[in-house]
């Protein structure tokens, strides 16, 4: 039941305008699900996981009652959206619309 919902959600995300790829990693940085190729998946999983941990600890240190909910990195080529949670993290790449 939840499996179907999960697939549905991921399909919906992928069909949004501009989405180039998505990636789901667990707490240890292991990529669970992704639609990018293996080496890119690996790179994103490792690098973004450590960055997201650093961001989270930064927010925690500044204000212990606060916590990181979401963060985005806008680059020249695309925007990287990172949604961290206690156990899993979802990463989505969206192209920046050059109007």
């Amino acid at each position: 039941m939840t499996q179907a919902e999960v697939d549905d959600t991921l399909k919906r995300i992928q069909e949004h305008k501009g989405v180039q790829g998505y990636l789901i990693i667990n707490n240890d940085g292991i990529p669970i699900r992704s639609n990018l190729d293996a080496s890119l998946t690996q790179q994103y999983a490792a690098l973004i996981k450590s960055l997201s941990d650093k961001a989270r600890s930064t927010i925690r240190e500044i204000d212990p009652t606060n916590e990181l909910v979401f963060f985005r990195m806008r680059t020249k080529k695309h925007e990287i959206l990172v949604a961290p949670e206690k156990e899993y993290t979802m990463i989505v790449l969206q192209a920046t619309d050059v109007q």
Partner: protein
């Protein structure tokens, strides 16, 4: 009073071990106070003592130890897999993945994460939050005081004193500079002096990026604008050499010493050619040599700088600086040690045709020469404590010049982005910024870069914001100037071209008048010598005198004075007679 203690010792006891013993105190001398001496002194009352009730401060400065950074890479290997899963086995990893996907928390987590991600994606698609609204607005020219600040200092890692006498920027962006170091003092080359030159990376002032090891110290070095890995260098012993940064530190090619210059090759410039392999060099031995990098054993062409066009090398002027503009590939200019500036054309069949016009130049060696990047008819030259701006149309005199400064000016360059600005370096270590539209009698901004003489400067081509200056003890300083010194105003180009035209016209008019006066004088001189009647000569002379306004003004003045005097005398005499008549009438 002499206090002495005399003791005797037997000769046989010399050298024996000393035995120390205690003994009671003994007064050797006793000096009593003499109360009569107080008569010679008077008590001072009141006594003035300055007292200040402030906190005591002391000044102390501390410089931190230089933070050495090094860039290193780390190899990431896949990890984080639990112990029982071998990350290289694809079926084990996929089994693990499927297991996690079946977990309860997974589904819930994905749903909530998906929700927030979707929200953001929709946001992104709805509005472009980074839209640039006013793209076509020109940045306003802010009227702030110009400033220049030092960004980085690159010190010679070697302790021997060598001058940084030429700097060349990397052709592809402001990332690297090549600096040539050479001790140019006469006959001071010691055998232990270091002869390397360096390429510095802008970001790393602790260690040069590359050491260049020539056979003889480099006097000048230039990056090849076409091939960014190649550099041409002129050596102290007259040879020229080519370096390739991909191929290591030693020179890839070296010219044969028999065919090279006999004096240090002071300037080397790359030429604009189809193959991108040609350059030319000049030296104080009076020759300008053209080279091709593919064959450095002998020069392609030679030019002897004999301005009488007879090709005699004994008469040749030594060249100190060269000027070449890639947009005019056949013309170039040479600044000589004797002060003249020679404009030459490469397309001559022999030496006589190659040497064009000669400008009088300076009273000393011409250390720098550069055409204006936007107005190629005007060029600036540096020597004899002044900077002069010339126009090619006028051969006799410069059109603009700075007043002589207190220190020798060693190098100058036009700003590549602003038409009215040029930079100079002086022997007292200052970097001057001259803006000829703003102030002409003194520099707009003068910055003390270092305490020892600065020998060379180079402005970075693309933005004109970074300036590298080299000093006598080998320190290269990178200076950044403020925005209003590198961004050009709208009407600046027309104003500067108007100024140059005006000054050229003024100089031309002065020259024409000078010539007319000289012609008239020679004509009148001929009139006196010949058998012409003196009246003609006289009219000629009076014509000449009339033509000279100062003399005319003087003569008019004296005429008026004489007339006034005569009138006064007459009036005086008339009054006397009247007075005499009246007194006569009375009596």
């Amino acid at each position: 009073m002499d206090i002495q203690y005399v003791y005797t010792k037997k000769r046989a006891e010399f050298g024996r071990q000393v035995h120390f013993t205690d003994r009671p105190v003994e007064i050797v001398a006793d000096i009593q106070p003499n109360p009569e001496l107080i008569q010679e002194y008077v008590a001072r009352n009141p006594v003035d003592i300055g007292v200040q009730n402030v906190r005591e401060f002391s000044e102390h400065w501390v410089n931190t130890v230089r933070f050495e950074t090094e860039n290193r890479g780390i190899n990431h290997v896949e990890g984080g897999w639990p112990k029982d899963v071998n990350s290289l086995e694809p079926d084990q990893t996929s089994r693990f993945r499927k297991k996690t996907e079946k977990e309860d928390g997974y589904g819930r987590a994905i749903l909530s994460l998906g929700h927030s991600i979707e929200h953001t994606i929709k946001q992104n698609n709805a509005i472009d939050i980074y839209e640039n609204y006013f793209q076509n607005l020109e940045p306003d020219v802010v009227e702030e005081a110009p400033y220049a600040k030092t960004i980085n200092i690159y010190r010679d890692p070697h302790s021997t004193q060598r001058t940084a006498n030429h700097i060349s920027w990397y052709a592809d962006g402001p990332r690297k500079i090549a600096v040539s170091y050479c001790n140019l003092e006469f006959q001071s080359a010691t055998s232990d002096s270091f002869i390397d030159s360096y390429i510095w990376d802008i970001e790393n002032p602790t260690k040069p990026e590359l050491y260049l090891k020539p056979i003889s110290p480099l006097v000048c070095i230039e990056f090849n604008p076409k091939d960014t890995h190649q550099l041409a260098g002129g050596c102290y012993n007259g040879q020229v050499c080519i370096f390739d940064t991909r191929k290591g530190s030693t020179a890839v090619e070296q010219s044969l010493i028999e065919n090279s210059h006999r004096d240090p090759a002071y300037k080397v410039i790359w030429l604009q050619s189809k193959s991108g392999t040609e350059f030319f060099s000049a030296s104080t031995d009076g020759k300008v040599l053209w080279w091709d990098t593919r064959k450095l054993s002998e020069p392609v062409e030679t030019l002897i700088l004999d301005i009488e066009k007879k090709g005699r090398i004994e008469n040749a002027l030594g060249a100190m600086s060269l000027e070449y503009e890639p947009t005019m590939p056949t013309k170039f200019m040479v600044g000589t040690e004797q002060g003249r500036i020679i404009s030459c054309n490469r397309k001559g069949k022999n030496d006589a045709e190659k040497i064009g016009s000669v400008f009088p130049g300076h009273w000393g060696p011409v250390y720098a020469l550069q055409r204006h990047p936007n107005f190629t008819k005007n060029f600036l030259s540096v020597g004899d404590w002044t900077v002069r701006i010339w126009s090619e149309e006028l051969r006799d005199d410069c059109i603009m010049w700075t007043k002589p400064s207190m220190h020798t000016i060693t190098d100058a360059q036009w700003s590549p982005t602003r038409s009215s600005i040029f930079y100079t370096t002086k022997m007292d270590g200052t970097l001057d910024v001259w803006d000829i539209l703003f102030k002409q009698n003194e520099p707009t901004l003068s910055m003390q870069v270092v305490d020892e003489p600065l020998h060379c400067l180079r402005v970075q081509e693309s933005q004109g914001r970074l300036i590298a200056c080299g000093s006598q003890n080998g320190t290269v300083t990178l200076v950044e100037v403020s925005d209003n010194l590198c961004t050009q105003g709208k009407s600046e180009k027309t104003l500067v071209s108007g100024m140059f035209d005006r000054e050229t016209r003024r100089a031309k008019i002065l020259e024409a008048r000078g010539r007319a006066k000289r012609d008239a004088r020679t004509k009148s001189a001929q009139g006196e010598k010949g058998e012409k009647p003196t009246t003609e000569g006289g009219t000629g002379e009076s014509d000449l005198k009339e033509a000279d306004p100062i003399d005319k003004a003087e003569k008019d003045f004296w005429k008026i004075i004489e007339e006034e005097k005569r009138r006064r005398d007459r009036k005086f005499v008339a009054d006397d007679e009247k007075a005499a008549g009246e007194s006569g009438a009375v009596t």
